[in-house]
């Protein structure tokens, strides 16, 4: 049983979710409250990974990470080696791929906060940051949880992008999905089934726990695809 691949996938999913939270919250805040007339273009860009095939995204990431690509050049200048075939490379590619899964629930949840509450907060003397911390954030907890869970789950199951930029290195980029695929190609169906089943069980357990906790908070869930 290849626990190394499973642990790698979990590590990847945790890193990606954390990064998406840090990057996604300010972006979602801006998209929710800005009145810039070209905002819709940025929203379309954010949603692009939803429609792009993962292999397409992966392929272009591979080029971007190459010695002539923008990411590759930056990384090489900073760290002295390439970005493809590294865990960091996977993280970056996965962040891009799961981007809309984090950002869209956050936007919806910020937008549904009653505007009058924000007005009241301003009139009572609270600046934008305090209003965000004390009014918007606490009232957006279900949306934040959804964003984190979706990023985690989506990354855990990711295959196409990892296949394109990973290089299948054990312990570094051989995630559990790649490992299962390898087993199938090597005709080792027994190992493939075992790994797939374990992945399914763990994913289901994680999702159930999170949705269960969220349910107790007394609030309802929604699907990001129903937004906008």
């Amino acid at each position: 049983m290849n626990f190394e691949a499973l642990l790698l996938s979990i590590r990847l999913a945790l890193c990606v979710s954390a990064i998406l939270f840090v990057v996604g919250v300010p972006l979602a805040y801006w998209l929710a409250y800005s009145r810039w007339r070209w905002k819709f273009l940025l929203e379309a860009v954010v949603a692009l990974p939803l429609v792009l095939p993962p292999t397409v995204l992966g392929f272009y990431m591979l080029l971007a990470m190459g010695p002539r690509g923008p990411l590759g050049r930056l990384w090489h200048a900073a760290f002295g080696h390439g970005l493809a075939f590294t865990f960091a490379g996977l993280v970056i590619a996965s962040v891009l791929y799961s981007f809309p899964f984090a950002v869209q629930p956050l936007i919806v949840s910020f937008e549904t906060v009653d505007r009058k509450l924000l007005d009241a907060s301003a009139v009572l003397g609270a600046g934008r940051i305090r209003t965000f911390r004390r009014v918007i954030l606490p009232l957006s907890v279900p949306g934040i949880i959804t964003a984190l869970v979706l990023s985690f789950a989506h990354t855990l199951g990711e295959f196409g992008v990892v296949l394109m930029v990973g290089g299948n290195l054990a312990g570094v980029t051989r995630t559990v999905s790649i490992d299962i695929y390898d087993r199938v190609q090597s005709l080792d169906y027994l190992a493939a089934n075992r790994a797939a089943f374990l992945l399914l069980v763990i994913s289901f357990a994680v999702l159930s726990v999170v949705y269960g906790i969220n349910r107790q908070a007394g609030r309802r869930q929604w699907l990001p695809w129903a937004a906008k």
Partner: protein
């Protein structure tokens, strides 16, 4: 003591989604005490409050509290709402649902946490909600929510208080009680309070200065009696409780008597109304309160009233504690009588009656 005037000169194009768009264009001075902003929905009252509070930017104008300018379109001054020290209670109250009453009330005092507890306790007591301090907004009643909203705004010691229909949906007794508490608070502070309402009873109850607003312009200013009892605009008349609005044409003017005769549209009925700026054949509208018309079942004689009209009862309808009778005298009038009168006079549909209208109960209205 904070005794300051609020002066606001505002022009803003307003694109309403339900009401048609209009231009808010007015100049108002609000003295310490309660000033009522009265008018129908869509008149621009909430927009004006939003401009004063800094939540919306006027297209042009100047807003100042005494000598401090918070907005000036020419000098490019626009103080953000956080720093205007203006309290604003919305119609929806906007209490933070995830915080307790105590946390809600203390929200505006986050900069001075040590004093906060004491001041919050004090104001909760003043508005009689101290027993609710640990409850969440969804656990308290409507009237209690309103008190908490007031307490939250006033604990910050604002220089101006704006209230947007703060007491809608409450019964008369509760309203009176809250208004009393508000007056008591303002007796000490004496700040300008701008109170928006479309309810006539509230205007009467608060009884200070009234500014009537319609379609973004001030149509009338003065005491409640002055503004409401002599409405110059039709909609204001409807809001102020004139059940009868009749079209009429001027027949002739009698300047020495201070009256003019008008013929009611669609009939040969002529009545005498106070003299106004009109000429023969001008069209105008007459507003008469249903409660100002007397009903007789016999032709009255030797009355001081100049207008006696013969007619027939068309229908009788019970409305709460009174009876609304519709009488056809050529023009249809609505008359209010008590149930006792209905019994004594044995009123019924079809009965011939006489209506008596005093000249000065007939107000003329433009539009």
């Amino acid at each position: 003591m904070n005794s300051a005037n609020l002066a606001a000169r505002v022009r803003k194009a307003h694109r309403g989604d339900t009401a048609p768009s209009f231009l808010l264009d007015l100049n108002v001075e609000v003295l310490p005490g309660i000033t009522i902003l009265f008018g129908p929905s869509g008149a621009g009252k909430s927009t004006l409050l939003d401009c004063i509070a800094g939540l919306t930017q006027p297209d042009a104008g100047r807003i100042a509290i005494d000598s401090e300018v918070v907005f000036d379109s020419e000098k490019q001054v626009n103080v953000p709402p956080q720093r205007r020290q203006i309290a604003y209670v919305f119609q929806s109250l906007a209490l933070f649902p995830h915080m307790t009453v105590e946390a809600n009330v203390g929200y505006g005092l986050l900069d001075a946490p040590r004093q906060a507890r004491g001041r919050v306790a004090e104001i909760l007591q003043m508005f009689r909600v101290e027993t609710l301090r640990a409850r969440k907004p969804r656990e308290i009643s409507g009237g209690e929510k309103q008190r908490v909203a007031l307490a939250r705004s006033l604990v910050t010691l604002p220089r101006v208080l704006l209230l947007d229909e703060p007491l809608s949906g409450l019964d008369a007794e509760l309203k009176a009680s809250i208004i009393d508490d508000l007056r008591a608070w303002n007796a000490a502070r004496k700040i300008p309070i701008l109170y928006v309402t479309h309810s006539r009873e509230e205007v009467d109850a608060l009884g200070e200065r009234v500014i009537a607003l319609e379609h973004g312009k001030i149509v009338s200013e003065g005491t409640p009696r002055e503004v409401l009892d002599a409405p110059r605009r039709r909609r204001l008349a409807q809001a102020a409780g004139f059940e009868n609005l009749l079209s009429a044409t001027v027949v002739d003017l009698r300047e020495p008597d201070g009256v003019m005769r008008v013929r009611l549209a669609g009939s040969l009925c002529e009545i005498e109304v106070p003299l106004g700026r009109a000429a023969p054949d001008d069209h105008l509208r007459i507003a008469i309160r249903a409660g100002d018309i007397l009903l007789a079942t016999e032709p009255p004689r030797a009355l001081s009233a100049r207008n006696v009209l013969e007619g027939k009862i068309v229908s009788l309808e019970r409305r709460g504690t009174l009876i609304a009778a519709r009488v056809d005298c050529g023009a249809i009038f609505t008359v209010h009588v008590t149930p006792g009168a209905e019994r004594t006079l044995e009123l019924a549909a079809g009965k011939k009656v006489w209506l008596v209208l005093k000249t000065h109960s007939c107000h003329f209205v433009e539009g």
